[in-house]
């Protein structure tokens, strides 16, 4: 018995899958980033960190490929003609989160900064907040394509986590500069913490844009 299945959405299905995978990447990247810090702060785990760093790099590379494919398909097949510019901007902004996570993970791998023990929990906490911020941003962005009604819930979480991460960053910076570390170390750690916090800032910028795009998407 032959079954003929005619799909109304052959083009959109493949693009939908790519958009889904792209969002998976940002969520994976955020989860791995949290893990990377845990690993880095564990003694004698340089090899394991290298492996996690490699995974983050691979995710970033895959996400770049997906981003290009999504962009090409959107224009080549003239899908979402009225939202093309918004979708591209959103995808590119989300991709910046992956890039920043990759940059920070690589920076840690190359510089191997010495983080005092008393700061470990704070740094872990900062990375956890940043990662949660990115995860929520990924979910919010996916919701833009699937279920507009929950976009606001997740962008709200992004804002909340970004504020939390700012507070933690300030606390860490105060601790760094009140410590007896050499100035060079202090500056190195300060830059690192700033860059980690910037991941959340990028996610916040994405959320801002997303909310505007969501208003535009409404009929």
């Amino acid at each position: 018995m032959f079954k003929i299945k005619i799909s109304l959405f052959p083009k959109t299905k493949s693009l939908e899958n790519k958009i889904d995978s792209f969002h998976d990447k940002v969520i994976d990247s955020a989860i791995l980033f949290r893990k990377a810090i845990e690993v880095f702060l564990t003694p004698n785990s340089k090899d394991e960190y290298r492996s996690v760093n490699k995974q983050i790099k691979q995710i970033e590379h895959d996400a770049d490929g997906l981003r290009r494919e999504i962009e090409n398909q959107l224009y080549a097949q003239n899908l979402l003609p009225n939202l093309q510019a918004d979708v591209l901007e959103l995808i590119e902004s989300i991709d910046k989160i992956n890039n920043q996570i990759n940059d920070v993970a690589y920076k840690i791998y190359v510089e191997q900064p010495e983080i005092p023990n008393n700061l470990h929990s704070l740094v872990k906490n900062l990375c956890k907040q940043v990662a949660e911020c990115c995860e929520n941003m990924g979910i919010a962005s996916r919701a833009f394509f699937k279920d507009l009604s929950i976009v606001r819930d997740y962008t709200h979480k992004v804002y909340l986590m970004e504020q939390e991460s700012d507070l933690t960053r300030n606390e860490i910076k105060k601790s760094i500069f009140s410590s007896n570390l050499p100035l060079a170390n202090k500056i190195q750690l300060d830059l690192l913490i700033t860059e980690i916090d910037q991941i959340a800032d990028i996610a916040e910028d994405c959320a801002d844009k997303l909310l505007i795009f969501a208003i535009k998407r409404d009929i």
Binding site: F9, T12, L79, L80, K146, K216, I219
Partner: protein
Amino acid sequence: MGAFIFFLSSGLFLGWSLGANDGANIFGTAVGTRMLRFRTAAIIASIFIVLGAVLAGSGATDTLNELGNINTLPGAFMAELAAAITIYLMVRSRILTSTSQAIVGAIIGWNIYSAKPTDLSLVSTIASTWIICPILSGIFAIIIYYLTKMFLKLHCVSLLKQDTYTRIGLIIAGAFGAYALGANNIANVMGVFVGANMLHSLPLPYGFSLSPEQVLFMLGAIAVAIGIFTYSHKTMDIVGRNIMQMSPIAAWIIVISQSLVLFLFASPNLHSFLIAHNLPTIPLVPVSSSQAVIGAVMSIGLIKGRSSINWHLIRKIITGWIATPIISALICYISLFVLANVFNLQVYN
């Protein structure tokens, strides 16, 4: 027959201008928002306008003929020409007008010149449809807007699927709109020639045939289709990009609301259904598709809180309602006088 074709030219010209302008109302938003290609839109619109005109064009035409049955070709020619000149003048004066109002004015002008009585209750019925048309279109737009919103909320349709549905919806709504436009507005283009029609019936395969009236309507509809192909692209761009900067779903709502209104005022089947069930009937009168669009756009703007009632636009429409038929009647009266006394043509029997 040569003279018939010559006199028909004014109607064909009006048909061409109707296609150039009103074609944009049907597919303008779809083409302007790049949801559909112009070629696809023009082909669909042409096919369905011809179908609407041939299959259901008689309803609104009968009403116009009740108002005044122009019974000579020169008279019909002049009525159409007077309507065309009026529209040209109104467009130049930036007053919102419609072919329907101009043709009604021209028929009244012919009635006055030929000393035939004008059914005032019919005039008031027709005039009331001009007011009802944009209001009804606005009401439809509001209802469809909320229904669509509810549907999207309940079914969580993904953005890309929504895009596909909207494209299909725009094609169906456009086809329906074209059918309704053909059925409703062919009366403006060819209605006055019915009384003096010299065409013969056209046999079709499988035992079907077109009556002389349907052949006349088909000619008019072809003129409308040519208008769409040759000149509506620019108007579609204006409608799609400049006037209505809204989402494709809103565009679909506007097209479907406008189509429903045109259909209601054109469908003889619906008319007889309402009569059979003792329900209040809707007069079969040619109405303005542009004003139906304006009604729908304004109501969507209002419920979205993006605009308030545009009184300037409403003033322009009301001016059109009053000025268009009066000017058209005047032009028709004077032209009939010239035609009868200078060219010695018989403008009425």
